[in-house]
């Protein structure tokens, strides 16, 4: 290590810090009865004397990253910029090898340079956020790069964007009236236009295990992606705590697939799951109710719903998306889609179209309401989970997702 560039040391410290922050913050956010509004404070306290040093590391590396040009960008300063980008890629390769004992493949270095830079920047933003210094600059550059390449890479960037939608919605809701949260609690107050609408295939609101999911296709260390999901989770929980309107829609088939993925069962239908996989599957399924009622939505108001869609056709043609009032994001959930991005922001006309599509699901819900929500028969197209009592919930989930 002695003859290495000093920036490599900085990068190494940076990634170590991100991993440490990710560990501490996950423990603080997911702890039972966590004081969510104080999370940044708790992370600072847990870090103790290392806190100011960490802040300096993160900021110094963020400034370095902000000075980097687009990867593989030509132009007049091509030679100077290619030197910079080559150094950056080399640095990434060295650091990832040291940290995760994982080699950056030559193909990744050549084709996923922008992605690497974006995820480095996202890591800087997320790390700084959990240290209580959310300077927008690194994320602003990620968005600029996303504009060039047509979208965000899978993982931390998309998770951060989704978290931002909850955060932005929370700020806007708070601004709407001087009394903020209280106004939203008024009886009979429903505002579908202001509500956050979510169509999710791997919903964090049901699956705590999704937080620690490791996607092998990611090019950067898993700590940043976990931190990204943690940020989404934190913002979602803060939003839910404020009792602001939000509606989650989860297709049953997608939830079943997620359960299998999280249990580590391979996609191949011919490969039979092993015993530990079966146990993991049951464990993940049974952890849904305590997570949903205990942590995510401890108090239920009519403005917040979590619904299962029984017919895949009701959500057909829609990717996983989180839709706010002003902006939204979709993700294709697949690193093997052949595209060089995994999702992008949704604005203006497209946002309106997506929101309309999801709002049509409210009509289904009213139909079901007349027939009684607990009857699972052929006509049932939507199941509102928050309206179910404990035995019915367990019964339903065992019926929908039987033990393997």
């Amino acid at each position: 290590m002695r003859d290495l560039d000093p920036l490599v040391f900085l990068a190494r410290d940076f990634w170590n810090d991100v991993a440490k922050i990710s560990r501490i913050a996950t423990a603080k956010v997911t702890a039972p009865g966590a004081a969510l509004w104080d999370v940044q404070m708790q992370v600072c306290q847990a870090l103790g004397n290392a806190y100011p040093v960490m802040v300096e590391h993160l900021l110094a590396y963020a400034v370095e990253l902000l000075g980097l040009p687009r990867m593989g960008g030509g132009g007049r300063n091509a030679s100077a910029s290619s030197k910079q980008t080559d150094d950056f890629l080399l640095r990434c390769a060295q650091v990832f090898e040291l940290q995760e004992h994982r080699k950056l493949e030559e193909r990744d270095v050549q084709t996923r340079g922008d992605e690497l830079l974006m995820e480095n920047l996202a890591a800087a933003w997320l790390g700084l956020y959990f240290l209580g210094l959310p300077f927008s600059h690194p994320w602003e550059k990620v968005r600029r790069l996303a504009d060039y390449r047509g979208g965000f890479p899978s993982g931390a960037c998309i998770a951060k964007y989704a978290g931002d939608i909850y955060r932005l919605a929370r700020h806007r809701m708070r601004e709407r009236t001087p009394t903020g949260a209280q106004a939203a609690l008024l009886p009979g107050y429903t505002d579908h236009d202001a509500a956050v609408l979510v169509l999710s295939h791997t919903p964090l609101i049901l699956l705590q295990d999704a937080l620690g999911f490791q996607d092998q296709t990611n090019v950067t260390p898993s700590s940043v992606h976990q931190l990204g999901r943690l940020y989404t989770l934190l913002q979602m929980m803060l939003y839910l705590r404020c009792d602001y309107p939000v509606h989650f829609f989860i297709p049953i088939s997608a939830l079943g697939q997620s359960l299998r993925t999280l249990a580590g069962i391979p996609d191949d239908p011919k490969a039979a799951p092993t015993n530990p996989m079966r146990q993991a599957y049951t464990r993940v399924r049974d952890s849904i109710r305590p997570w949903l009622f205990g942590r995510m939505v401890p108090t239920h108001t009519g403005q917040q719903t979590v619904s299962l869609l029984t017919l895949p056709s009701d959500a057909s043609g829609m990717p996983t998306c989180v839709l706010g009032n002003k902006t939204g994001i979709y993700t294709l959930e697949s690193g093997d889609s052949g595209l060089h991005f995994a999702g992008n922001e949704i604005n203006e006309a497209l946002l309106a179209s997506y929101r309309d599509k999801l709002k049509m699901l409210f009509v289904l819900k009213e139909d079901v309401g007349r027939h009684g929500p607990y009857q699972l028969d052929e006509d049932t197209r939507i199941i509102s989970l928050l309206d179910l009592n404990e035995p019915t919930f367990d019964d339903l989930f065992r019926k929908l997702f039987p033990d393997l």
Binding site: G132, P134, R174
Partner: protein, 574 residues
């Protein structure tokens, strides 16, 4: 924007105002001079005929022969002989008596009569009024000339529609020549002859204003050496002429800037930017839809630095904004306007991170940027609250600032688009891109594009409040403040460069031993260092207070204003 005022020659108010003052001064000067003359005539038994007789004698005494005599006397050195002749002894008694009589006569003639107080006061008063009159003579002359020029150049706006209609009725214009009568006729006031009238204004006014001085001068000749008195008058005259020349130059510069702006849509240099700010503020006040802008340097109203009296400076600022009734202060124009405001500003992170080892000039610059941003945030919040109070029954538009990298410097107010290009720190060019666009659709297309451009930058960025809070928190980490302690605002701001800013705050105000606040516009404000520091701190203090007062986190105790703890900053950042 309406580029041409409806009828420029209607700008007659200053002419009337100055004419009235001039008439009053002329009447006062004449009546006082005549009073003095009457006293002089009564006391010294002079008759008015004396004046004519004296003039006659003076003119009779002018002879061509004397020219040669004077010329020779100038070159012949006879001073020695002259003295000798005078000093030659003459022993006879009669001669001595004659000499004594001569001396007595000389003394009588050459000494001034005894001065009494009322008389002196009257003289002082007359001189004051005459000087004043002359100053106003020149000011009025300039004003009349300008008014005359405006009148000469004023024409009803060319009615293109009527012209085309008329054109359509006529068969064909032969060889491209337009028949007379189609184009507006040349008016007599546009001919060179009319310029003579303008030239004669100065003479008529000048001679007219000399009359009271002349009367006074004649009466004064007995009281004092007339030539010395006339010299004093000439000095006043020259001073008045110079003064008028200066004001004229000022007006001419303003007129040519306006002219340039009308023809090119450009305002140049830093002073031009100042001027442009006034123009933009006017536009803000009238804006109905949106104001989208990329801001490099946030201005702080000069009015703010005048709020140095005892008590809360923000209360004083509000009062000042009420008094100025919508002119010149950001708060008043934003309250007046109903537009939605979105500003985008680039605040490089690198500058903040490397602030500790930076040069004083950079630290100063950084702090000024942060101060301007925070000041604008406070004003935006006040404007929003005022809008809410004004329109309780409906939704009011918000005012936001985002931090984002924005390469362009666009300033869009409804459909007016400005582009500002910086050249160095003190020099910039502002061009109104929509200036020559007469087609409404083209204007809409351009302003629409510019708005969406600014919106794109804004969407990528973060909230400015968050940036300021994070910067303060970062300063606290560097200053090793503990989370639970009372927020040491001064220490944090010094960490962010306040000290360096206060050493050289030129442009906003000047540091002086004590506060000197001149109420006139465009006069620099002098502030003591303590006052300046407390004004800077008041900006951040108010921002913290109004943001934490919103109780973002629903956590009791986090927004307790009396004890503002460092950890409370996190409530804005979560």
């Amino acid at each position: 924007m309406q580029d041409e005022p409806a009828a420029p020659w209607y700008k007659i108010r200053p002419v009337i105002y100055k004419s009235c003052i001039y008439v009053i001064l002329w009447l006062a000067a004449s009546s006082l001079s005549l009073n003095y003359y009457a006293d002089y005539a009564r006391k010294d038994k002079h008759a008015s005929g004396d004046l004519l007789a004296a003039a006659k004698t003076m003119f009779c005494g002018l002879k061509f022969d004397k020219l040669g005599e004077g010329w020779n006397a100038l070159w012949d050195d006879k001073s020695g002989t002259h003295d000798e002749e005078k000093e030659s002894p003459d022993p006879t008694l009669a001669t001595i008596q004659k000499a004594i009589e001569q001396v007595g006569k000389d003394v009588r003639e050459r000494t001034h009569p005894p001065q009494d107080l009322p008389n002196s006061l009257l003289k002082i008063l007359v001189v004051i009024v005459i000087s004043w009159l002359w100053f106003y003579t020149f000011l009025l002359k300039n004003e009349l000339k300008r008014a005359y020029r405006r009148w000469q150049q004023a024409r009803p706006p060319f009615d293109l529609a009527a012209y085309r209609k008329q054109e359509g009725r006529r068969p064909i214009a032969l060889f491209g020549l337009v028949a007379p009568g189609l184009l507006p006729r040349r008016l007599w006031r546009e001919r060179p002859v009319a310029d003579l009238v303008r030239g004669s204004i100065a003479w008529v006014l000048g001679i007219w204003s000399l009359l009271p001085a002349l009367v006074f001068a004649v009466a004064m000749h007995a009281a004092y050496e007339p030539a010395v008195f006339v010299m004093a008058l000439a000095a006043i005259f020259v001073a008045a002429e110079h003064y008028s020349g200066l004001t004229k130059a000022e007006h001419e510069i303003k007129a040519s800037t306006d002219d340039l702006k009308r023809t090119m849509g450009i305002v140049l240099d830093a002073d031009g930017l100042n001027e442009w700010r006034t123009e933009v503020y006017d536009l803000y006040g009238e804006a109905k839809g949106r104001i989208d802008a990329v801001i490099r340097i946030f201005d702080i109203d000069p009015e703010w630095w005048k709020c140095a009296g005892p008590g809360d400076p923000w209360d004083q600022y509000r009062e000042r904004c009420k008094l100025s009734s919508g002119a010149g202060t950001l708060l008043s124009v934003l309250i007046k306007s109903e537009a939605r405001v979105r500003f985008v500003s680039d605040q490089p992170l690198e500058k903040l991170v490397r602030l500790r080892g930076a040069a004083p000039s950079e630290r100063k610059e950084f702090f000024r940027a942060l101060l301007g941003l925070s000041w604008n945030l406070v004003v935006f919040d006040m404007a929003y609250q005022a809008r809410v109070r004004k329109h309780v029954d409906r939704k009011v538009s918000r005012l936001r600032i985002k931090i984002s990298r924005a390469p362009a410097w666009m300033h869009v107010v409804d459909e007016t688009v400005y582009q500002v290009i910086e050249r160095g720190s003190e020099n910039a060019t502002v061009r109104q891109l929509t200036h020559s666009m007469t087609d409404a659709r083209e204007r809409q297309a351009l302003s629409g594009w510019a708005k969406s451009n600014v919106r794109r930058f804004a969407q990528r960025g973060g909230r400015a409040e968050e940036y300021v809070f994070a910067a303060l928190r970062f300063a606290a980490i560097r200053a090793q403040s503990s989370e639970g302690q009372h927020l040491p605002l001064k220490q944090l701001l010094d960490e962010l460069g306040m000290e360096d800013y206060l050493k050289e705050p030129k442009g906003d105000f000047l540091i002086a031993p004590r506060n000197v606040i001149d109420q006139r516009m465009n006069r620099s404000v002098l502030l003591s260092e303590t006052t300046a520091q407390s004004l800077c701190m008041a900006v951040f203090d108010e921002l913290l207070r109004c943001r934490l007062g919103k109780n973002n986190c629903f956590v009791q105790g986090w927004a307790d204003p009396p004890d503002l703890k460092l950890q409370f900053l996190l409530s804005e950042l979560i």
